[in-house]
């Protein structure tokens, strides 16, 4: 009986030996026992670098849109946790990656970050099967009442207190853009935060620019965020970014009956409309 980690390595080896992919992007051992680091396995013999444990945290789908990597390795496989598979689905939906050139080794980590969490390799290998798995098995575990708890708590506050809360949070922002770097959905060649003609967003880390940046980051992910939580995890000043992302995900779900990353065939909520969309708020 092989361990899930051995199973993962075997899957990577098969893909590389069969010349199905040029690289397998996975997790390798980091510089501490509780850390992993992305590794790029290009030869079957090197597949033993791959690890699978509860500290596999990065959303490796962020590498799929990297132009430098794609130029070198046109056909890529990634080790993807369940939310990361959703990221792959959205990237295909948004025509950022060619579904024929990407292979997904799906893994499930029940409680990321918890040393005792079980880790398994998903038996499904094709994108269709993986999407089916997401819809049947993962969707009920995503965007749960528990995850929305922080959002609902904030909603109880009067507007002035909510404003004070977010003002305090955003004031901490360093504009390091780690949230953007870690996010698989933030792939623009030129981010609007770097545009200077015209300059949409103040680049200084002062309260005015921080507010604009954080509003923009959140809204650009509305209906696209796949709830991997990487932005919040990598934030060096602990801004509760997922309380924004989950709020927006819930609004989009409730108003447009849409959740990102479960079906490549579905239309993006903001790239489509229905005649009977809610317009209670329009005078």
């Amino acid at each position: 009986m092989s361990t899930p980690e051995q199973e993962l390595r075997e899957r990577a080896r098969e893909l590389l030996e069969g010349d199905e992919v040029d690289v397998v992007v996975g997790y390798g051992q980091g510089n501490r026992p509780d850390r992993t680091t992305p590794v790029f396995v290009t030869a079957a013999a090197a597949a033993d670098q791959l690890v699978l444990n509860p500290f596999c945290r990065n959303d490796l789908a962020a590498w799929l849109t990297r132009k430098d990597l794609r130029a070198k390795f046109p056909r890529m496989a990634i080790v993807a946790k369940e939310p990361d598979i959703r990221a792959v689905v959205v990237l295909i939906q948004e025509t950022q990656i060619d579904p024929g050139a990407v292979r997904v080794i799906g893994v499930r980590i029940d409680r990321p970050g918890d040393p005792d969490s079980p880790c398994t390799v998903l038996p499904q290998t094709t994108l269709d099967e993986l999407q089916q798995h997401l819809r049947d098995d993962f969707q009920p575990r995503a965007l749960t009442a528990e995850q929305l708890g922080a959002v609902e708590k904030l909603e109880q506050l009067p507007p002035a207190e909510r404003w004070a809360y977010w003002r305090k949070q955003f004031d901490k922002c360093l504009r390091c853009y780690a949230c953007r770097s870690g996010c698989p959905m933030c792939y623009c060649d030129q981010c609007i935060a770097q545009m200077n003609q015209p300059q949409w967003l103040d680049t200084s880390a002062h309260p005015l620019g921080n507010m604009a940046w954080n509003i923009t980051r959140a809204f650009h992910l509305a209906g696209r965020c796949i709830n991997c939580g990487e932005c919040e995890r990598v934030c060096p000043v602990d801004i509760p970014l997922m309380a924004l992302n989950r709020f927006l995900a819930r609004q989009v779900r409730d108003q447009f009956d849409f959740q990102a990353g479960y079906d490549v065939e579905e239309y993006q909520p903001f790239a489509s409309w229905k005649p009977d969309d809610n317009e209670d708020f329009i005078l």
């Binding site: 904030l154 909603e155 506050l157 507007p159 002035a160 207190e161 909510r162 404003w163 004070a164 809360y165 977010w166 003002r167 609007i192 949409w200 967003l201 103040d202 200084s204 002062h206 309260p207 005015l208 620019g209 507010m211 604009a212 509003i215 923009t216 959140a218 809204f219 509305a222 209906g223 924004l244 709020f247 927006l248 609004q251 989009v252 108003q255 447009f256 909520p269 903001f270 790239a271 409309w273 005649p275 969309d277 809610n278 317009e279 708020f281 329009i282 005078l283």
Partner: protein
């Protein structure tokens, strides 16, 4: 920045579509309808052209409230621009409210080219609401904080 509510004149920025609301506002003018002068009209091709960042930008430049107004559903000059706008702003408005912006400060409306009277009424009503609410101190404080460091 803080002024007493008696001499507070709200600054309202309105992004209006070229084909309906702008013509509606124009009709209000040519019909000699009198309405609050607190609104600054910015003409855009379509309500679907209004990027949420334009709203943020208006607040950054000191607006107390922002209005986006376009053609009624079915009337869009570009057939469906206002339908996209409707979805976008349903969520964007929710986001601003969630951040603690008062709902009166982010408004949306459909005003057709024939509705000069609706436009005049709307602006009067909106101005009164924002006047009661007072200046957008929350955002003004951000502007002041930025000035202090630059």
């Amino acid at each position: 920045m803080s002024r007493s509510s008696q001499d507070f004149e709200p600054r309202i920025v309105a992004f209006v579509c070229n084909w309906c609301t702008y013509a509606g506002a124009d009709l209000a003018g040519t019909s000699r309808l009198k309405y609050a002068s607190n609104v600054r009209v910015v003409r855009v091709p379509c309500s679907g052209r209004v990027d949420p960042l334009l709203i943020v930008k208006a607040f950054e430049r000191g607006a107390d409230a922002v209005l986006v107004s376009g053609c009624h559903p079915g009337d869009c000059h570009y057939a469906e621009g206002n339908y996209y706008a409707r979805r976008r702003f349903a969520i964007f408005r929710d986001l601003l409210l969630y951040l603690g912006v008062e709902p009166e400060r982010v408004q949306f409306s459909w005003v057709s080219a024939a509705e000069g009277a609706k436009w005049a009424d709307l602006i009067d009503r909106l101005t009164a609401q924002v006047r009661d609410l007072g200046p957008f101190e929350g955002y003004h404080a951000l502007i002041d904080a930025a000035k202090a460091v630059s």
